[in-house]
């Protein structure tokens, strides 16, 4: 054996080795995404195992294929920076030349007014608006060419970024987007755990990176050293466990120490050594740097895995020129690498090795010093707070103040991150401050939808018997957390305790009464809701209490609506809207006034006006930054009533999905109920049953809510359809009694005709007569065409008299309620035929048939056809042609508008903006259009639309 020479390091950054199979998986994923299937690959592996290198290799492949590649990385020290990952990946900064990115950057920038304490009545914030903004931007980018998003170090991602990742998978299932997310097995936040479960359900691919195989390790050594390894060296690097970073660092250290020699054209180590630890190996490697460089790397490691030289000049008080010279050896040795305008430790583990090699006390001191110097230099509160939090000891009022400030600036964009910051401030604060901060922490948790955590924080703090003012705020927050969990009665009890307090200021008392009114309304206690709203209005101070006043006015109008008096309800809501318009910053509109107005207009059969009101409501929710699941449901409600069922299903599905995502489930029972109803009329009893189960499950899980009696109504109709007539009747009768007892007269015209029909079939004429009287009473009380139609229909069924039924057809026609027109026409025909007037029955059967065909009620069509056959009646003049299932003629008016706008080149978010729909709704419309026209892409659709425009007859 003869030593031939010293072996140098040929490459500090070796070529990519041993991951061909994994790269192949990513190539397949790119192909799938390009074919318009959102594809997610989660790459998991320990630090240093090669996740980032795999991502870099995938980036090269993506660019080679002409795909749009964007990458972002989360940082440990920025775990609370809202949307940090997406800001990084998509380049969303206020100074961006792209107006969309600049707008999103502006939205994500800290709010200068964010210094007010956070309470349960604080503005709900911008988080969802920002989530939508990111999803819109991704959608638009992918609209131009397929997009690959590489997201590294997801284990450090902030809660809002994680939420956005989950939202993308829900909202863009057909987008040509590949998301490659890399993460270590630990740490794993609760948000990330939930998001990974969502990704798993959405069919995400999992790619676990294990140790490199021996051959690949040998290849890696050969690549780094320029010579294949000898047996002793191979044995030495086997101690690195197939971790490529470890192998590279070990080789670096061995070379630096002069331990490697060439033997027979192979690199060989002089002596066998004990297997080293990775951290010690890294430090061995670093120990060759000059003293001064090491002294600067320590404060640099305090700034995080990547840092700007400007920050380092601030925290070390050394000039940039001086730092450049001092850091040069670290850059030459690839300890630090350039990352845009920042410097980055080549790997997090290198930074960690330097950072954790300092005693804890020194680290804390450096963080504290960094925080104070960054504060002096005007750095954002969040950055200052992250350092001060790491450098603080219990009772550090300065650190607590900065963390509080950072949390308040953060809450509107990421309440989850704010809650985390408040939580850390609570741990450091003195007792009196801590209780006050718990209120803010719990309120932030409430906004983040972490209801149980909010409840737990409030209860722990209340057990410590805080001072009176804090106790009131805690109790208010606790009540909100309970109500939001559907534990309305428990929440109401807390509100009652709160209202017994003599210390409560008028504005807070008014709000507590307003919440009480809302809780009572949810429980179906209309009198209680009215009374509580009245108390809110009487105690609300003139110069404050705007929100409480507007909520109370809105709830009073809603109570009247539920009592079945839509004219009066509309008058009251218009007064409430006027008051909300006059409130400072129009904060009164945080109660969804215009959406309530739209509902009331629908009750009055004014569907076009309702549509316009929903447009106004959309604009307001957009400005407020809140999500709008209820808007989709209300739109679906309107389409259902007028017989536009394809559009109704689209809206309702979008609404219930959004409700599940945001936790705003107030209207999802209604949404599922209508979906069940439509499925039932279409003859899909299985789907109808599923929808009804979901609707009833919602009520059982979290109590009654807005119009949740519809779930029982639809259940009764389903039982009826399955032949369980007696059970259907008793279910329906119980629902009716419950509504009447609660004063929910809004349901009288809904339930009445079906209950009369079922009661007569069950031989309970008294019940039928009693119901008919009630419907007639309601119709007299408020002049509404559809109420009149319901009253006449009940009367006609009870008396077996076709005349009122024929009049009901006209009433429902005036009300534009096509499904009801068809049902009344069917009833009229049945009674006419029963009295022997088959000729008179025929036009009504035709009318019912044509109408049911037009709205796609297959089950009703079959029933009418059977009835016609039984009567020996052939259908008369055909009505408007039945909409076919495929081709251009199958498109609904809304779908045609969507097609026109897509053909103009608009992206989904742009179409949504033009049509005042949610992007999700547009997405669903497009999916339906693709199916009906048998096209696979927007480009094909646009080409098809152009052909159609040139030759409309084809």
């Amino acid at each position: 054996m003869g030593n031939v020479g010293y072996v140098p390091v040929r490459r500090a950054m070796p070529t990519f080795q041993g991951r061909d199979a994994q790269l192949e998986v990513l190539r397949d994923a790119m192909a799938r995404a390009t074919a318009r299937h959102l594809t997610i690959v989660v790459v998991e592996g320990e630090a240093g195992i090669g996740k980032s290198r795999l991502l870099a290799a995938a980036s090269d492949v993506a660019r080679g294929r002409g795909l749009h590649m964007m990458t972002g990385r989360s940082e440990e020290l920025e775990r609370n920076r809202p949307f940090g990952l997406w800001t990084d990946a998509l380049g969303c900064v206020p100074s961006s030349p792209d107006p969309r990115r600049a707008a999103l950057g502006g939205l994500l920038a800290p709010r200068p007014d964010g210094h007010e304490p956070i309470t349960v009545s604080s503005d709900p914030g911008l988080q969802f608006q920002a989530v939508d903004g990111v999803v819109d931007l991704v959608d638009e980018l992918a609209h131009r060419r397929p997009l690959v998003l590489g997201l590294d170090d997801l284990q450090w991602a902030d809660p809002a970024s994680v939420l956005t990742l989950a939202a993308l998978t829900h909202q863009l299932p057909d987008a040509p987007v590949l998301i490659v997310g890399c993460l270590r097995p630990t740490p794993r936040s609760s948000e990330l755990t939930r998001a990974l479960a969502v990704l798993g359900t959405a069919g995400a691919w999992e790619l676990r990176l294990g140790p490199l195989p021996d051959r690949a390790v040998a290849g890696l050594v050969a690549d780094v050293l320029g010579a294949p390894p000898g047996p002793r060296l191979l044995s030495q690097v086997a101690g690195a466990g197939g971790n490529p970073l470890f192998v590279t660092e070990l080789l670096g250290a061995l070379v630096r120490e002069g331990c490697l020699h060439a033997v027979d054209a192979r690199a060989e180590v002089s002596d066998e050594a004990l297997p080293p630890s990775l951290r010690l190996t890294i430090l061995r490697h670093l120990s060759f740097l000059p003293d001064d460089t090491l002294q600067v790397l320590r404060p640099a490691s305090v700034l995080g895995s990547s840092f700007s030289v400007l920050d380092l000049t601030t925290t070390t008080r050394r000039s940039a020129l001086d730092l450049a010279a001092t850091l040069d050896p670290a850059i030459s040795a690839s300890i630090l690498v350039e990352d845009g305008d920042r410097l980055r430790f080549r790997h997090d583990l290198i930074r960690d090795a330097v950072y954790e090699d300092m005693p804890r006390g020194i680290r804390m001191g450096l963080h504290r010093e960094a925080g104070l110097r960054l504060a002096d230099a005007g750095a954002p509160a969040l950055r200052v707070a992250e350092h001060l939090a790491r450098g603080a000891v219990a009772g550090d009022a300065g650190a607590v103040a900065w963390m509080t400030r950072a949390a308040r600036e953060t809450v509107s964009r990421s309440p989850g991150a704010a809650a985390e910051l408040f939580g850390r401030a609570v741990e450091l604060a003195e007792r009196s401050d801590a209780d006050r901060l718990v209120v803010e922490e719990a309120s932030s948790l409430l906004s983040a939808g972490r209801l149980r955590d909010a409840e737990a924080r409030c209860r722990v703090a209340l057990d410590r018997t805080p001072d009176a003012a804090v106790e009131e705020s805690l109790r208010n927050c606790l009540a909100q957390a309970l109500i939001a969990q559907g534990r309305t009665s428990d929440g109401l009890r807390e509100l009652e305790r709160l209202l017994r307090s003599t210390m409560l200021a008028d504005a807070e008392r008014a709000l507590a009464w307003a919440w009480t009114s809302m809780a009572r309304l949810a429980l179906g206690d209309l009198d209680g809701a009215d009374a509580a709203a009245g108390r809110a209005l009487s105690v609300a101070p003139h110069d404050g209490g705007h929100l409480a006043t507007c909520i109370a006015l809105g709830l009073r109008a809603t109570a009247v609506e539920l009592r079945g008096r839509p004219h009066k309800a509309l008058q009251l809501i218009d007064e409430a809207i006027e008051r909300a318009d006059r409130s400072p910053d129009r904060e009164g509109h945080r109660y969804p006034m215009h959406a309530a107005r739209a509902r009331m207009l629908m009750e009055l059969d004014r569907f076009d006006d309702a549509e316009a009101a929903l447009e106004v409501a959309s604009r307001i929710t957009e400005r407020l930054g809140t999500r709008r699941a209820y808007l989709d449901v209300y739109r679906g409600f309107g389409h259902f009533a007028t017989g536009e069922w394809a559009d109704a299903v689209t809206e309702l599905e979008a609404g219930v999905a959004l409700a599940a995502e945001t936790g705003q489930r107030t209207n999802s029972t209604l949404g599922f109920s209508i979906l069940g109803l439509i499925a039932l009329h279409r003859g899909d009893l299985r789907r109808a049953g599923e929808a009804v189960d979901l609707a009833i499950g919602e009520v059982e899980a979290s109590g009654p809510r807005f119009r949740s009696q519809w779930s029982t109504w639809v259940r009764a109709l389903l039982l009826d359809a399955r032949g369980a007539w007696q059970e259907a009747f008793t279910t329906m009768a119980a629902c009716w009694d419950e509504c009447l007892q609660a004063g929910l007269e809004i349901e009288i015209p809904v339930l009445g005709p079906d209950l009369v029909r079922m009661a007569l079939a069950a031989g309970d004429r008294d019940r039928a007569a009693q119901v008919t009287d009630e419907v007639a009473r309601l119709a007299k009380a408020d002049d509404v065409a559809s109420h009149r139609g319901a009253a006449r229909r009940c009367q006609g069924l009870l008396d077996g008299d076709p005349e009122p039924l024929i009049a009901a057809v006209d009433d429902y026609t005036r009300a534009s309620r096509l499904p009801m027109v068809a049902l009344a026409a069917e009833d009229a025909a049945t009674e006419l035929a029963r009295t022997g007037d088959v000729g008179g029955a025929r036009p009504f059967l035709d009318r019912a048939l044509v109408t049911f065909e037009g709205i796609g009620a297959a089950r009703d069509v079959a029933r009418i056809e059977a009835r016609m056959r039984a009567l020996g009646v052939r259908r008369g003049v055909r009505g408007p042609r039945v909409r076919p299932r495929s081709g251009w003629a199958s498109l609904t008016p809304t779908e045609r508008t969507v097609v026109d706008l897509v053909a103009e080149g608009l992206s989904n978010p742009q179409v949504a903006g033009r049509m005042f729909l949610s992007r999700r709704t547009v997405q669903t419309h497009l999916a339906h259009v693709f199916g009906k026209l048998d096209v696979a892409s927007r480009a094909e659709l646009a080409a098809e639309a152009a052909r159609r425009a040139a030759h409309p007859q084809r």
Partner: protein
């Protein structure tokens, strides 16, 4: 080649901190962290058998 005896006095364990000295020669060198310890060991090993430890001059 020669045998060198070095003693490490550890006051703290994570990260290690204390002193290191070469038996029979020179003053103990304080260290704080593995990096310091590695560098102190390098210095002690590099020292000649007699006389004060040479100070490394960087830059």
């Amino acid at each position: 080649m020669c045998a060198v005896e070095i003693r490490v006095y550890v006051d703290e364990r994570t990260p290690p901190a204390g002193q290191v000295r070469r038996v029979g020669a020179g003053e103990p060198i304080p260290f704080s962290g593995w990096l310091d310890l590695i560098r102190a060991l390098e210095r002690l090993i590099a020292e000649p058998d007699e006389g004060p430890a040479p100070h490394r001059v960087d830059g």
